[in-house]
């Protein structure tokens, strides 16, 4: 049997490191290995690399270098930003936070803990059936005791991009701190913290071909940031722990590369994405999730009625295609994805979801293989699905 190249279409989960990032990283493992806190030349060489990386990351976001704090991942950035803004607000008696129902769990679980353990009140805004928050609804939800609005830049499952600039403007006007989890956006679509009126922003390197285990938090000058890990004076006393220089350098290199090639990559991906969506939409009783006019270039989320997502993923994997699903069985819980439920999909439909997330390493041949494989697997699974058969016999109504 011919061994085919694996079609990796799960880039929203994680990406391969770019050669640029790997090359940038390697010297910092065994050549420039000093501790940036050391005074000697080996330490100072590392310190220089650290600050150069900080300047590069800042430049990619339109920020100042002293507004960038390196963290271990996007989740840590989310945790620190939200807790810091919440605790700063609580000192002034402000204990109300606005967010949405389809945030990443790093945000949702942090908010739920603040609610349960510290008595914060959380308003979760509707994300509507198109998966887009409305800035005027953010405005309407702001109260005198609101200390934080945290809304993701782009959704990780359905790929919808939020009106961040408008939301930021609303928050700036109301003098409420605005944090955005931009883990899926940075490196993929233009993000500028100044133009977008952002106070705090989380990013993660492994979503744009950098290494896993490294992220950053942007915190605008003038916004108070509380320390998250106590210890040494690293990261201007806000995040103790010896800096992960090799990964910080690799993250900066990956981000610079992603931003330099963004327009070109994005144009190619949008074409590939739209071709796949058009072809897979020919599958009867299928549905594309999320507003495709406000969308990440490489993300596709679809539901196929009458089947369950895990079986779809396993069969696609057998055909050499790596994808993802929001079905309950793939989440390890018995409920399907909170994101798909938040856009109003019934459980039955949400179980049959498929997420394909492309990157610039995917080829048109990859797209061809996806376009061929998905309908085959959907048909195969429908042929053994009692739900599908009852729908086809008219005993159960089709939902989509």
């Amino acid at each position: 049997m011919e061994t085919k190249r694996t079609v990796y279409a799960d880039n929203a989960a994680t990406t391969a490191m770019s050669k640029t990032a790997i090359d940038a990283m390697l010297p910092y493992l065994d050549k420039v290995y000093g501790n940036p806190s050391s005074l000697h030349s080996a330490g100072q060489a590392a310190k220089e690399a650290l600050e150069a990386a900080r300047a590069d990351v800042a430049a990619c976001l339109g920020a100042q270098p002293n507004e960038i704090y390196f963290t271990s991942c996007g989740s840590e950035s989310d945790n620190q930003a939200i807790r810091s803004a919440a605790h700063t607000g609580a000192l002034k008696g402000k204990k109300h936070i606005i967010s949405t129902a389809f945030e990443h769990h790093a945000v949702l679980h942090t908010l739920e803990r603040l609610k349960k353990e510290e008595g914060f009140e959380i308003t979760y805004l509707d994300v509507h059936s198109n998966g887009v928050v409305k800035a005027e609804e953010v405005k309407a939800a702001i109260r005198p005791d609101t200390c934080l609005v945290t809304i993701m830049y782009a959704n990780n499952e359905i790929g919808t991009v939020q009106p961040i600039r408008e939301i930021g403007a609303v928050c700036r006007e109301a003098k409420v701190t605005f944090h955005t989890d931009a883990v899926q956006a940075v490196g993929h679509i233009p993000v500028n913290v100044v133009e977008d009126n952002i106070d705090m922003l989380s990013l993660s390197a492994h979503k744009f071909h950098g290494p896993k285990g490294i992220g950053a938090l942007y915190c605008r000058k003038g916004i108070r940031l509380l320390p998250f890990i106590d210890g040494g004076a690293q990261e201007r006393n806000k995040r103790a722990g010896t800096e992960n220089i090799a990964e910080i350098v690799a993250m900066a290199a990956a981000l610079k590369e992603a931003c330099a090639n963004m327009a070109e990559n994005s144009a190619r991906l949008v074409k590939m994405r739209d071709r796949i969506v058009a072809e897979l939409s020919k599958i009867p009783h299928s549905k594309v999730n999320g507003d495709m006019t406000r969308h990440l270039p490489g993300t596709i989320n679809m539901c196929f009625e009458g089947i369950e997502g895990e079986g779809l993923l396993l069969h696609l994997d057998d055909k050499g295609i790596c994808a993802s699903s929001g079905s309950a069985c793939t989440s390890g819980s018995l409920d399907p994805s909170h994101v798909l439920l938040a856009i109003g999909l019934p459980h039955e439909v949400a179980h049959g979801s498929l997420r394909l997330s492309l990157c610039e390493y995917n080829t048109e041949e990859d797209a061809d293989r996806i376009i061929k494989a998905v309908p085959e697997v959907v048909e195969y699974l429908r042929n053994m699905s009692p739900v599908w058969k009852e729908m086809e016999r008219g005993e159960l109504p089709h939902i989509i």
Binding site: G306, I307, E308, G309, E310, G311, L314, H315, D318, S327, A328, C329, T330, G332, S333, L334, D335, P336, P346, H347, E348, H351, N383, M384, S385, P386, V387, W388, K389
Partner: protein, 143 residues
């Protein structure tokens, strides 16, 4: 370690006894689409022996594999033996299931019981009702 055993993957990739029996003597359907699992089992019965069995399943990999294995375990067996099939036996025959997937094997056991009960009911055959505990319809809604 992979999520599933080789046995599970074999039965998922090459499920045995997939299909429907148009003139089935007993049909059992259990589960709930809301929870992402529905199993439907068709039995052909002659002289209290399961001479043929088919299934249709909407569900994850382990639900499909559990259906396949369960049908293999009861095919050609007398009804009395099929009624003794436990979910544990199905899971063991598959070389184990992950803890959060054990309910798939429970569904397989229940689907077989439901199909046998359907056969008894249709044919007015007396049976020990304690062998067929009533399942609350909402039981499968894990909320």
């Amino acid at each position: 370690m992979a999520l599933y055993s080789e046995k599970v993957m074999d039965h998922f990739r090459n499920p045995r006894n997939v299909g429907e029996i148009p003139d089935a003597d007993g049909i059992g359907e259990v589960g709930n689409a809301r929870c992402g699992d529905i199993m439907k089992i068709y039995l052909k019965i002659e002289n209290d022996v399961i001479v043929d069995v088919k299934f249709n399943t909407f569900g994850c990999g382990s639900a499909i594999a559990s259906s396949s294995m369960a049908t293999e375990l009861i095919k050609g067996k007398p009804l009395s033996q099929a009624l003794e099939l436990t979910n544990k036996a199905v899971a063991e025959a598959l070389d184990g299931l992950p803890a959060h997937k054990m309910h798939c094997s429970v569904l397989a056991e229940e689907a077989i019981r439901a199909a046998i009960k359907d056969y008894y009911d249709k044919n007015g055959i007396e049976y020990d009702k304690s062998q067929f505990p009533e399942h609350d319809e909402d039981e499968e809604i894990h909320e």
